[in-house]
């Protein structure tokens, strides 16, 4: 397959994609790095000179920083845990013989296709509103005081909304993985006298390990950068300010570009730590 001719053609054909992505990565990142060492306030005097690592120390020592890291990790971690656990259970359920399997599948997948602004607004208003929301009606029906979801249980609410969006993804992938399990393996285990729970723990679950890894990887990519869900619900108040949202506020809302850029660099570093860890897993899968 690999002659000199085809190899040089291949390099040529790969060039556009590589150059575009390289540009997309390097140009703005370099600019962010550049701004992060400057006091730069576009609306209040513009470029006010170099300040060394000032922005970095100020960003990390600001009272909003650690809470934002915490909020980010809580949201990503909780959503991952919820979607993987419920996803496995739901996938197993959907794999059982039943009537109308196709329709149920469609129902379960649907939330994945709902755009983030829609799902956030629908949940915020029609379900979580303390006066007119369905949850409030439900709580009233049982004689309880309605919860002010987005202020009293703000992180929980965001986790709920985001989990609802991503549960279909996890379920669909895990279901596909379960269906690819060779039924002879399970039958062999049954012949060997393994009860159902053991068959699940020693055969189904290990078989799912790879799929779970992939679910975690891909969801992490997307979850680290959730934005619209916060913008249209709490706008970062009540402890839901993630790192992404904090940087957004510094850069576009208060137009403190230097400080925001330093925050952006932190976000890049955080993402890279996780990415490095995940890349290793994907790389291994790539060889298989």
């Amino acid at each position: 397959m690999a002659t000199q001719h085809s190899r040089s053609a291949a390099r040529l054909m790969m060039a556009p994609a590589v150059i575009l992505l390289l540009g997309w990565m390097l140009v703005p990142l370099t600019m962010t790095l550049y701004f992060s060492f400057k006091k730069y306030l576009p609306l209040r005097g513009g470029d006010l000179g170099w300040v060394g690592f000032d922005n970095y120390t100020r960003f990390i020592t600001s009272s909003a920083f650690w809470p934002s890291i915490q909020a980010t990790l809580i949201i990503v971690g909780s959503v991952l845990a919820i979607t993987v656990v419920l996803g496995v259970l739901l996938a197993i359920l959907l794999d059982q013989p039943m009537w109308g399997q196709g329709v149920v599948r469609i129902l379960v997948i649907a939330p994945f296709f709902v755009m983030p602004t829609v799902s956030a607004l629908v949940w915020k208003n029609m379900f979580m509103d303390p006066v007119n929301g369905l949850f409030a009606h439900l709580w009233n029906a049982f004689g309880l005081t309605p919860v002010e979801w987005l202020s009293q249980a703000s992180l929980t609410s965001i986790v709920m909304i985001v989990s609802w969006q991503w549960l279909p993804f996890a379920t669909l992938i895990l279901l596909t993985a379960i269906q690819s399990l060779d039924s002879e393996q399970l039958e062999a285990a049954e012949m060997d006298g393994a009860p159902p729970l053991y068959r699940f723990a020693y055969i189904t679950l290990p078989h799912l390990a790879r799929a779970i890894t992939i679910v975690v990887l891909i969801q992490t990519i997307f979850l680290l950068s959730i934005f619209a869900e916060i913008l249209v619900t709490t706008q970062g108040s009540f402890g839901t300010k993630t790192l992404t949202y904090l940087v957004y506020q510094r850069v576009l809302e208060s137009q403190n570009v230097g400080l925001g850029s330093a925050g952006g660099v932190y976000a890049v570093i955080l993402a890279n730590i996780i990415a490095l860890f995940l890349m290793r897993i994907v790389g291994k899968n790539l060889d298989a």
Binding site: V104, V108, A267
Partner: protein
Amino acid sequence: MSRTVTTQRKAINTALAWGIGLLIFFPILWTFLTSFKTEATAIADPPVFLFFDWTLENYSVVTERSDYARFLWNSIFIAGGSTILGIIVAVPAAWSMAFVPSHRTKDILLWMLSTKMLPAVGVLYPIYLLFIKMGLLDSRLGLTLVLMLINLPIIVWMLYTYFREIPGEILEAARMDGATLRSEIIYVLTPMAVPGIASTLLLNFILAWNEAFWTLNLTAAKAAPLTAFIASYSSPEGLFYAKLSAASTMAIAPILILGWFSQKQLVRGLTFGAVK
């Protein structure tokens, strides 16, 4: 695997699965139903499900008030344009990596995926600034380019996994049969990869349609797609649930339908072919 399952067992499974399925689907169903209610019915306590006076009024109000057609067209333009551009750039790259792999192929693929992990906020201001300088802010073209770039890694990956399933011998046969590289790609590879390319198109259209960081931050009145259209409902005036529901239904319906049609291919696409 042909063991008889008792009807009772099957009935329990069915009831459980349908119950959970409907629970998960409920917010969408509720939105859909609410879009046909009057504002007063929409917040009625206890809630009304099916037995109300169905009205299309919300749809006409929403369409008139906010120029729905323009947002819709922006969404179609941006999602469609970025996907097609992405495919044009990605097909040759994926061909190279799938059929002429070198020891660096794996590194390049992983690197591409890693650019997808780059947090958008890290480059928000530079992009914002560049867009102002180049006059791309609030333009469909600018947004199309950005969405193409953020989805390019996924497009390349998906195509790569589809191409890898095409036996290299077939392309070699074409080469022996006298095909040039160009005719090899046009007459042999592309027709064989049509299903893969189609599902790549579909998935990336959906991802671009629902993208809500850049579409919210880089557009204002002119180029805003449906994501921004909906976000404009986040600061409500008066009773608005029914109108919100109508607007939401119109924003998600096209994608929901596309998504249902494509659910089989989605898994592959979303997992970079790692789960089959």
